[in-house]
């Protein structure tokens, strides 16, 4: 098992390198950079600009720039954010955690709701429950998440039950720990729901499909032939196998999750990686943009890794190849 994990980690490294290269290329394509604006500023002398350029190795050939940049990345030096006027690292850290929190919450909600619904639909195939869920799922899948975000915010503004976006209330620092937690949870509700509805819908349908597939299989007949009670047949035998493919999907879903989270962060004012990226793009704060992108990619790779490991843990057939 340990070997498997090690192997998976090693395989991820080329992907990370490739991503860093892609990001670097993009920096090069981006026309103009912050320095253009600085150059126009009469208060900043030419020497300062030259000093910056030498500092960032902009006078060296491209491949050397890449290596310097890579070296810096590995030392966790992500460059400087011109917009915020601090090293990128300082801005990223907090935001990363927030996005992670939101994604985690969304995953939790999605799985705990979608799986039981999927099983329910499968066990009541073609009856009212199943058809209703299918309809709701289609609708949920097709509605853009940002629309949900807007609608929920609107509903919140009318009913005043939940806060209107953001992550903390204004008086957050004055609250006790328990109250802080509660405040955080209240702020989490709308963005999490907005992201999760589409993935709940799709996961529910997939779970339903998987359960139906498994229930057709030979080992189910065998389990029943042994005299096992039906609940054991369904929840121990069929379910266990139905979940495996979902874990594979988890890896793919992560990309969509991070993307979806980013958009909702912007709409709901959640201070995460996505909203940071947007600000950076608008300000043409190049290093911030690229670092956010790398972080996004890293989160994805990490997620995929965890999904692979989970899958190996859950499906004995995979571990031994």
């Amino acid at each position: 098992m340990f070997n498997y994990v090690l192997r998976r980690i090693l395989v991820s490294i080329p992907s990370l390198l490739a991503m860093s290269f892609l990001t670097f290329l993009l920096i090069q394509i981006t026309p103009g950079n912050f320095f253009d604006a600085l150059k126009l500023d009469p208060q900043i002398s030419q020497e300062t600009i030259h000093r910056y350029e030498r500092l960032y190795h902009l006078d060296k050939p491209l491949w050397q720039q890449y290596l310097y940049w890579l070296k810096n990345l590995l030392r966790l030096d992500f460059g400087y954010s011109f917009f915020y006027n601090v090293p990128v690292k300082d801005v990223l850290a907090g935001r990363l955690g927030n996005t992670f929190l939101l994604s985690l919450a969304s995953l939790l909600v999605t799985w705990t709701v979608a799986l039981p619904l999927g099983i329910w639909a499968a066990l009541n195939r073609n009856r009212l429950v199943d058809r209703l869920l299918a309809l709701l799922s289609y609708a949920g899948l097709s509605t853009p998440s940002f629309l949900f975000g807007i609608l929920f915010l609107y509903a919140a503004s009318q009913t005043k039950i939940l806060p209107l976006g953001g992550m903390h209330s204004a008086h957050f620092d004055d609250l006790s720990s328990a109250q802080k937690l509660w405040d955080l949870l209240r702020h989490l509700v709308i963005p999490t729901l907005a992201i999760s509805i589409a993935s709940m819908a799709s996961l529910q349908r997939i779970m339903r499909g998987n359960m139906l597939e498994e229930l057709k299989k030979q080992y189910i007949v065998s389990a029943r032939a042994k005299g096992l009670p039906e609940y054991q047949v369904v929840y121990r035998h069929a379910l266990r196998n139905a979940i495996n493919p979902l874990i594979t999907i988890l890896g793919y879903e992560l990309s969509g999750l991070l993307s979806g989270a980013a958009l909702i962060e912007v709409i709901c004012n959640w201070p995460g990686l996505g909203s940071l990226m947007l600000t950076a793009v608008r300000a043409k704060d190049v290093y911030l943009v690229m670092s956010s992108m790398i972080m996004g990619g890293c989160l994805l790779i990490l997620g995929n890794l965890i999904a692979d490991i989970l899958l190996a843990w859950v499906d004995p057939r995979i571990r031994y190849d």
Partner: protein, 365 residues
């Protein structure tokens, strides 16, 4: 004995015939057809051009078409609307029954080029100035929402299709070649795909958008957006095609063609790619919603199609302010159209896939 090669296109038409039995899929197909048709003829069908604004009608609510007037005289018309400010400086619209504007058909209006070719003035319906007709209300600048939604459809509906044609062309080749040759070519191409897929879509989209130059004409913005979406999307299509290509290259007719001495290139073109057609069409159909949503998201954030041009996404950006939704909820209407389009693509794509799946498994494809 070599099995006779099934004609891939006729298999597809067989599948289409089966889909026809699924009424919901057919219904959605019809809706899509209507949406695209109205997009093409948007300029004729809408009473105003998308730029046409009248600030005295800012945030005007949807107008009711009256049939009978106070004297019970029949005829289609709208009343004039005027507004007053209430104590919160909000506009409240009142109907002015003195001003009656009859609804006319095939009226003279803003000029446009029908199908981009012929100069025209006629619109399907409208009212004479200074009256205005806002079937679905107006936005902050008094621009007719009905017209702008129709025009918006042009961009929102077409960007997806154009981008996917490009993604698909690239993906088809990359996937076909990778699957067919296998080995190091396959490895290399798949690594490239992974490289693209490794960054979450939204982040990649924003980063690419940052790489755009400033000050582009609207056409250039459109093309850049198409380029961005194609770049994001080709990789996953390539993987799907590669998977199919791998299973297809073992088929008997491919081996037969090889033994006859056909070049690899010819085999890929004549034997492998056509058989990926059916599944490809489904993959394409199910990908278009993603592109439509991507364009909406980008335009919503102000990074896509810019004012005054309309796309469903940037129409929704007005709805981002909660106050606006409160007193002008009709500005959420473009969201409904996005929803409608996406759900129709999903239903049709799924129905096609349900029909083709058993056929694929039985080896008929």
């Amino acid at each position: 004995m070599i099995k006779a090669q099934e004609k891939p296109l006729s298999q597809f038409t067989l599948a289409l015939r089966r889909v026809r039995k699924n009424r919901m899929a057919v219904g959605c197909g019809v809706v899509l057809f209507l949406l695209y048709t109205t997009a093409i003829f948007a300029d004729f069908l809408s009473p105003y051009s998308f730029k046409n604004e009248d600030r005295s009608y800012s945030f005007c609510p949807p107008m009711k078409i009256e049939i009978l007037d106070d004297n019970r005289k029949p005829g289609l018309f709208v009343y004039g609307y005027y507004f007053q400010f209430d104590e919160f400086h909000k506009r409240i619209y009142e109907i002015d029954k003195e001003k009656k504007y009859p609804l006319k058909f095939f009226v003279q209006g803003d000029s446009y080029k029908l199908l981009g070719l012929w100069k025209c003035h006629r619109h399907l319906f409208g009212v004479e100035a200074p009256g205005r007709i806002h079937l679905w209300g107006a936005d902050s600048r008094g621009r007719d929402l009905f017209s702008r939604i129709l025009y918006g459809g042009r961009i929102s509906l077409s960007i997806g299709v154009v981008a996917i044609l490009i993604s698909f062309s690239i993906g088809l080749w990359v996937g076909g070649i990778a699957g067919y040759y296998g080995g190091r070519i396959d490895n290399f191409l798949m690594r490239v795909c992974e490289m693209v897929m490794i960054v979450p879509g939204f982040y990649l989209m924003l980063a690419l958008r940052a790489a755009f130059p400033e000050n582009l004409s609207s056409l250039e913005v459109y093309l850049w957006l198409v380029l961005i979406f194609s770049f994001i999307g080709w990789a996953s299509l390539a993987r799907i095609i590669r998977g199919m290509s791998i299973s297809l290259k073992e088929r008997e007719y491919v081996l037969a063609a090889k033994s006859l001495g056909l070049s690899d290139f010819a085999i890929i073109i004549k034997h492998i790619l056509p058989h990926t057609l059916s599944y490809s069409i489904i993959a394409v159909m199910l990908s278009i919603p993603g592109y439509i949503l991507g364009e909406s998201a980008l335009s919503l954030l102000g990074l896509g199609i810019q004012d005054p041009y309309a796309s469903w996404g940037n129409l929704l950006s007005e709805a981002m302010g909660i106050l606006q939704i409160q007193f002008a909820p009709w500005i959420l209407l473009p969201g409904f159209f996005i929803f409608l389009t996406v759900i129709c693509f999903n239903v049709v794509g799924d129905a096609l896939r349900d029909c083709l799946d058993p056929m694929f498994k039985e080896g008929k494809l």
